[in-house]
């Protein structure tokens, strides 16, 4: 089978990429989705707050997904459900061989361009090193979300949540509404990993305590969870003896971070960032493998689906350009680097000649910064620094994705070998 563009994943990123690719003139697209419906994780995110940027109204997850499913349907963009992509292999002629499997069997698709839109998954218990038995009753917050919102069953009645990621906060409220008692949300770090609005409307509204600098140090119960021990940690995240508190509970939910799902990207030879665990991309959202693009949570974990859709539209458009323009000579690249509190940037390379008049650069900080100053400067090959922009922010926190704009006109005159420095300074 042959197609111009294969999109791996039919969630918000894949759908938005497909729609923009189609609108940019490449109509020969195939979306491959492993679940039994399109829309991805939005289908189980039944809470509201989606779409204020994209649609200027407040939608629930399923409603937001339905809008994009409808846009793809209007364009009659083909998709295959229950289809798992097994491998992506760049070929000598520049095409990509995509191997996938479903109930019809194994299929091989030759594509000119591929958009990676596989999303992310939750950090599991095995990655957290919580000591103790392995009883039933311990779930990732997203698994519990699926149980409650899709399958209509409750995993338990007395709940402790480890990690203050947004899904954990959302589930604290959801379980409370459904009659469970949520005893506490414990967070290892001295600050919350979730959005402030979720602390307010999911915890404060229901008097659920958030215990910062606290972790689970013991799991009780052999067949089924009977309780957990929470313990305070010091500034080096070591448990402080004597601060143990026992919580009688039948459910422990883990909301300890999301990991971009990049096994396929690695197999395809795509270079990954050790900080984001997502592909290293240019301002066209093209990975280190020409013609392979990435967007959404597989690229880096986003706070807002609206930003995912915007990013995916960019990826889809550039995938279409790649297909339409057979000249694939490499554009000039300027590397983006971080200093101070900024941990990473997406993209990692700006291509001044190819980029839009304005390039949105996403980044996160590694700590809470107050009275923060965000500067962007050009570091010229001779060592000279030229400040391009400066902005003050009252607070910057790791739980909130930040953005800064680069202007094409600022980057075009920079000599080859220049670097762009994104720097955050402030009181940590």
């Amino acid at each position: 089978m042959k197609t111009s563009v294969v999109i791996v994943g039919g969630g918000p990123a894949g759908l938005a990429a497909a729609v923009s690719c189609y609108d940019a003139g490449v109509k020969d697209i195939l979306i491959l989705e492993r679940d039994n419906c399109l829309g991805g994780i939005l289908n189980q995110c039944i809470h509201n707050g989606f779409g204020l940027h994209t649609f200027k109204e407040e939608l629930t997850g399923p409603e937001y997904a339905a809008r994009y499913v409808a846009m793809a349907a209007e364009r009659e963009i083909p998709y295959k459900l229950n289809t798992m992509v097994l491998n992506i292999e760049p070929q000598a002629d520049g095409t990509k061989l995509v191997t996938a499997v479903n109930t019809e069997g194994l299929m091989e698709i030759t594509a000119e361009a591929v958009v990676l839109a596989m999303g992310c998954r939750e950090r599991p218990r095995g990655a957290l090193n919580i000591p103790g038995f392995r009883p039933a009753g311990i779930y990732s917050a997203g698994t519990a979300q699926r149980f409650v919102n899709i399958d209509g069953v409750m995993p338990g009645k007395r709940v402790v949540i480890l990690g203050s990621g947004d899904i954990g906060l959302i589930m604290a409220r959801r379980m409370t509404l459904e009659g469970a008692k949520v005893l506490a949300v414990a967070e290892l770090m001295p600050y919350s990993g979730g959005l402030k609005r979720n602390i307010v409307q999911c915890l404060n509204d229901y008097d659920i305590p958030l215990k910062l600098s606290t972790t689970v140090t013991k799991i009780h119960g052999q067949k089924h969870l009977t309780g957990v021990t929470l313990q305070k940690v010091d500034e080096r995240r070591r448990p402080i003896p004597g601060t143990e508190e026992y919580y009688d509970c039948d459910t422990l939910l883990l909301s300890c971070g999301l990991l971009p799902e990049n096994e396929l990207s690695s197999q395809a030879g795509v270079q990954l960032s050790p900080v984001t665990s997502g592909p290293v991309v240019t301002s066209s959202l093209e990975t280190s493998v020409p013609g392979v693009f990435a967007c959404g949570n597989v690229l880096h974990v986003h706070d807002l689906v609206d930003y995912v859709s915007a990013e995916a539209s960019t990826a889809g458009k550039h995938a279409a350009e790649y297909v339409c323009n057979p000249d694939h000579t490499e554009a000039r690249k300027l590397r983006l680097r971080t200093e101070g509190g900024a941990r990473y940037t997406v993209p990692v390379y700006a291509e001044p000649e190819k980029m839009e008049p304005q390039l949105k650069v996403y980044f996160r900080v590694g700590d809470v910064y107050k009275n923060a100053v965000l500067t962007v400067s050009a570091l010229l090959p001779d060592g000279e620094r030229k400040e391009l922009s400066r902005k003050k922010k009252n607070v910057m926190a790791p739980g909130e994705m930040e953005q800064v704009f680069l202007k094409k006109d600022d980057l075009l005159p920079l000599p080859a070998g220049s670097e762009i420095i994104v720097k955050v300074e402030g009181n940590a």
């Binding site: 289908n43 039944i46 809470h47 509201n48 707050g49 204020l52 940027h53 407040e58 939608l59 629930t60 997850g61 399923p62 409603e63 339905a66 409650v148 919102n149 899709i150 399958d151 209509g152 069953v153 509404l177 459904e178 009659g179 959005l195 402030k196 609005r197 602390i199 307010v200 409307q201 509204d205 706070d303 807002l304 009252n394 607070v395 909130e400």
Partner: protein, 122 residues
């Protein structure tokens, strides 16, 4: 009196400062700062006088492809009515097909607000 609060309308979560005066025994918000859009001002005024929330949940479905259909209140309801609304939803069953936007319950728990489906379940 100055009250500080976090706007919950969108994930920006603006930090708001509102000035509240008591007029005839009732709180009145006289100024709001820190908001980046008009929703923030409206939120602070409501939150400090008569807080409301949109409630989202699920309702059991019979004969559908899924066991439950997600629903929401068509607009915000008084915060103190949240558990009354949940009690009503626990007693509701619907038959498939249910379509996105269908009214599942009218005037839920006396709030004057409808419960609508947020997904199609066939």
């Amino acid at each position: 009196m100055i009250k500080e609060l976090t706007c919950i309308n969108c994930p920006l979560g603006c930090s708001l400062r509102a000035e509240v005066e008591i007029v005839d025994g009732n709180p009145v918000v006289t100024s709001v700062t820190g908001n980046t859009c008009p929703r923030g001002e409206a939120y602070a005024k409501k939150e400090l006088t008569h807080p409301t929330r949109i409630i989202t949940s699920t309702v059991r479905v019979h004969g559908g492809r899924l066991a439950a259909v997600p629903v929401k209140t068509a607009s915000d309801i008084p915060k103190e009515k949240i558990f009354d609304v949940m009690e009503v939803l626990r007693g509701i069953d619907v038959n498939a097909p249910v379509h996105l936007g269908d009214v599942v319950v009218e005037n839920v728990a006396g709030t004057g607000v409808a419960i609508v489906a947020t997904r199609t379940v066939e």
